[in-house]
């Protein structure tokens, strides 16, 4: 599939990677603790339901006028991106660039034969919910930027890279510095969301698409400033110059 819009590809890759990391951690965690057969069955069922939902959802979106689409999706991306930006700032301020921590589950009550419905449902829900968020990101970026191929390619690349890495390095995947990735993606989503929402109102940006770069810089600056303030509030000694 040709990548016609590299910025959409990269942004979709990073945004999808955050969701796929969560998805892979759930699958790896459930599979390791409860067994792989039912976990893969649940993941497969989740993907099948997701595929049907994406087809229906995508068709419905394509009938919406582009400016309305930009306004609605831009607004949604902005509030969604601001949630990640806020959480990313808090996590980086509190813990730095640490990993996510360990997933755990009780090993009691695992059936010796047949389907383990606990593993099935956990895996199914993880794939379906995180997959829906990936689908939302792909449809949002793809349709609004009129680069659906690049958006699909970005999400697919994220899925392949993270899934292969997750399966190959099951222990390492739980330590990926998600806070930093969340902060970066929150900045990107907020920037695109702001641009599209305002453009959807019919308001012209100075320098047109280049304004997106300025928005990324603006939100990154704000995130760096707030992270520093939160760290100083949590550790007042950091704010004082060393003496002697």
């Amino acid at each position: 599939m040709a990548v016609s819009n590299p910025s959409v590809f990269v942004t979709t890759f990073l945004a999808s990677a955050v969701e796929v990391i969560e998805m892979v951690i759930i699958i790896v965690g459930v599979g390791t603790v409860r067994g792989w057969r039912s976990t893969w069955l649940g993941a497969g069922a989740g993907l099948a339901v997701l595929a049907v939902l994406v087809l229906v959802f995508g068709t419905a979106l394509q009938a919406v006028p582009i400016d309305t689409l930009r306004l609605v999706i831009g607004s949604l991306l902005l509030v969604f991106g601001l949630q990640w930006l806020r959480k990313g700032i808090r996590r980086v301020a509190a813990h730095g660039l640490r990993g996510m921590g360990d997933w755990s589950a009780s090993a009691e009550g695992i059936p010796t034969h047949g389907v383990d419905w606990t593993a099935f449902l956990l895996s199914f829900k993880g794939v379906l919910l995180e997959g829906l968020e990936v689908a939302f990101i792909v449809v949002s970026f793809g349709l609004t930027a009129q680069a659906l191929g690049s958006a699909v390619a970005g999400a697919a690349a994220a899925f392949v890279v993270i899934a292969v890495a997750g399966v190959a390095t099951r222990n390492v995947v739980q330590r990926i510095p998600r806070s930093a990735l969340q902060l970066l993606v929150g900045t990107l989503l907020s920037s695109f969301g702001t641009f599209w929402a305002v453009e959807g109102l019919g308001v012209a940006w100075p320098a047109d698409e280049i304004a997106i770069l300025a928005l990324i810089g603006w939100y990154a600056l704000a995130a760096a400033g707030y992270t520093t303030l939160l760290r100083r509030r949590a550790h007042p000694l950091l704010a004082q110059p060393s003496q002697g």
Binding site: S75, L78, L85, R86, I89, L129, V198, G202, V203, W218
Partner: protein, 64 residues
């Protein structure tokens, strides 16, 4: 059962879009409305939304 499904569906989208601080979504809605009104009045208003949300994120972080 349908009501329970609708409730779950609504809760999912509420969490997905609004999250744990509704003031951010409210600020985005208010800033977009103000931007549209300024635009109708013939004024440049592209700057309003990015400034408003950065201030709101700061207030939201402060209230945590």
């Amino acid at each position: 059962m349908i009501l329970r499904w609708l409730e779950g569906f609504g809760r999912f989208w509420y969490d997905f879009i609004i999250g744990d601080d509704w003031t951010i979504a409210a600020t985005v809605a208010a800033a977009l409305t103000a931007t549209w009104l300024l635009h109708l009045a013939g004024l440049d208003a592209w700057w309003l939304l990015p400034f408003a949300v950065v201030i709101e994120v700061g207030l939201s972080l402060r209230s945590d």
